[in-house]
Amino acid sequence: MTAILQLLQSAWRNPRGRTGALLLAIVAIAALVGPWLLPDPLAQPDILAGGLPPGPGHPFGTDQLSRDVLARVVNGARISLGVSVLAVALSVTLGAAVGVVSGYWGGAIDAALMRLVDGALAIPRLFILLLVLAVWERVPVLALILIIGATGWFATSRLVRGEVLRIREEGYVQAAEALGARRRRIIFRHLLPNALGPLLVAATLGVGDVILLEAGLSFLGLGIQPPTPSWGSMILDSREVMVSAPWAGIFPGLAIVITVLSANLFGDALRDAVDPRSA
């Protein structure tokens, strides 16, 4: 654990990492408390005054249903961040499990798992998600998290497998094995802690990817269902008014850019901390 703390510290010392962390914190706070501070944007759509440009009453303007865009962007933060953090947690766990099994046991299990991973990686994730989501009649947020999480572990498992293969060759692990240490002890004491750094990097960068992915699915109408605001579905709604009320689409897009960028800046700083040569 101290290793992780050191990593976080050194990422914090990196100016870009710090910027990313601070921005991410702001988005997270907005997601947590924003919905209380700003009125529920769904409460009273005043249907005769839609598409107002940004102004005093509505800093980000209103959409074609005259809902306050700022309030919806803030409310959307909760969905986008929540979905991506949970989905990434799931996929990193799955990926680590498969990677450890594959790397440590090797042989036929390894070969079978890695062929499956190869096959799954050959189909773009978006295609898999489109097909899987079609099976569900109505996608509750929890199901969406599960599905995104369950389709995101392929690359992570490769990464962890590689780490496991590398660490296994290290003297101390071989010594532990020679001394007859139990498998579970080796996995949890030696293999996983040493793979934590790369995992953390993958997870942080994964958050950004999943936010983009969720936005893409919502943009295709397959993600979060209305009236729950999500950044992707806000952009979807704004397509037809891009020429008349561009603010309704520009602001949710900027929210995505800022959030994903800050996650990536922080992830980048973490990677530099894990592998200082690349800094």
Binding site: R115, L126, A134, M242, P246, L261, N264
Partner: protein, 323 residues
């Protein structure tokens, strides 16, 4: 080498088979029948449904459909699209050039501008230029491609009217226009979609090249070259970059999925007549044969990309084969 190559090729084929089965199962597990959409806004009789089912081979059991599909695949026949009523292979062949043109241009930009910027960053590591380029490229990387596309089409295409907002060519361009005029026309239409896809993807190439270059710049022979008094430009490009280029080859495998997924959105936003927009439409319509064909083509490209990358890598660096 021969044995390794054979094993690697078999592995690629196995991957493709797994992908085909995965795709087929996923697609048929999804509820929704291509024929139901026909009753969307008008009544449809039982007789009509039966006739159409038989026409599209949907009256057969799923197992037999899979067999028929694999059999057809062996003959290079992917079946007939329900939506278009034409062979899937000819639809794919028609749309492939547009996607290749778009993807190829993006790749070209990435492997010229992206690599160049990546090298510059490595050379000026830690300087203001390096930091800004990192932040800028990561900002682009954080943009949803469809959003950037919508904004660019609106701003550049509609408000400023600098470039075409959508499409691939001017249909009114007279048929006796010269090759140059036609190429220019396509080029103008190409700018916005290529820009969109490049902005959201160039960060990957830049980061990769920067890291690879940094590795090399540490090596003693670079120090030697500098000590010999060679100019910085010669050291950077002649000596260092040559060796830093080759880890970047692995990017090719990484690249194809990004391009394909990105092009689904970007082609739709810009009405670009490629595979991405074809596939997007096929999902909504449950056009099984077309969707299957498109996914398969993409999977094959990804697998082939990975295979070629590995082979190239192995040719350049024999050590990989042992590992």
């Amino acid at each position: 080498m021969g044995g390794w190559l054979l094993r690697r090729a078999l592995q690629a084929v196995a991957t493709l088979v797994v992908a085909i089965v995965l795709l087929f199962v996923l697609m048929r597990a999804a509820p929704g029948d291509p024929l139901f959409r026909l009753s969307a806004d008008r009544p449809i009789s039982q007789k009509e449904i039966e006739v159409l089912r038989a026409r599209y081979g949907l009256d057969q059991p799923v197992g037999r459909q899979l067999l028929a599909f694999v059999g057809g695949l062996a003959r290079g026949d992917l079946g007939v699209s329900i939506e278009y009523g034409r062979p899937v292979t000819s639809l794919l062949v028609e749309r492939l050039p547009a996607t290749m043109l778009l993807g190829g241009s993006v790749l070209l930009l990435n492997f010229t501008v992206g690599l160049w910027l990546g090298v510059r960053q490595a050379v000026r590591r830690g300087a203001r230029e390096d930091r800004w380029l990192t932040t800028l490229s990561l900002t682009g990387y954080a943009m949803p491609s469809f959003w950037l596309g919508l904004v660019l089409a609106w701003l550049v295409g509609v408000e400023w009217r600098l470039l075409p907002a959508a499409g691939m060519q001017d249909p009114l361009l007279s048929s006796d226009a010269g090759v140059l005029a036609r190429a220019g026309d396509v080029l103008r239409h190409l700018v916005l979609p290529v820009l969109t896809l490049s902005v959201v993807s160039i960060a990957a190439t830049m980061r990769y090249q920067r890291a690879a270059m940094l590795e090399v710049l540490h090596l003693p022979y670079i120090v030697t070259a500098r000590a010999k008094g060679l100019s910085e430009r010669v050291v950077t490009w002649r000596h260092a970059w040559r060796n830093a280029l080759f880890p970047v080859i692995t990017l090719f495998g990484l690249w194809l999925p990004i391009l394909v997924t990105g092009s689904v959105f970007v082609e739709a936003v810009f009405a670009w007549p490629g595979l991405g927009s074809l596939a997007a439409g096929a999902v909504g319509a449950r056009d099984y044969p077309l969707l299957m064909g498109a996914s398969l083509l993409v999977a094959a490209l990804v697998v082939a990309g990975g295979f070629l990358t590995d082979v190239t890598y192995a040719l350049l660096d024999p050590r990989v084969r042992i590992g």
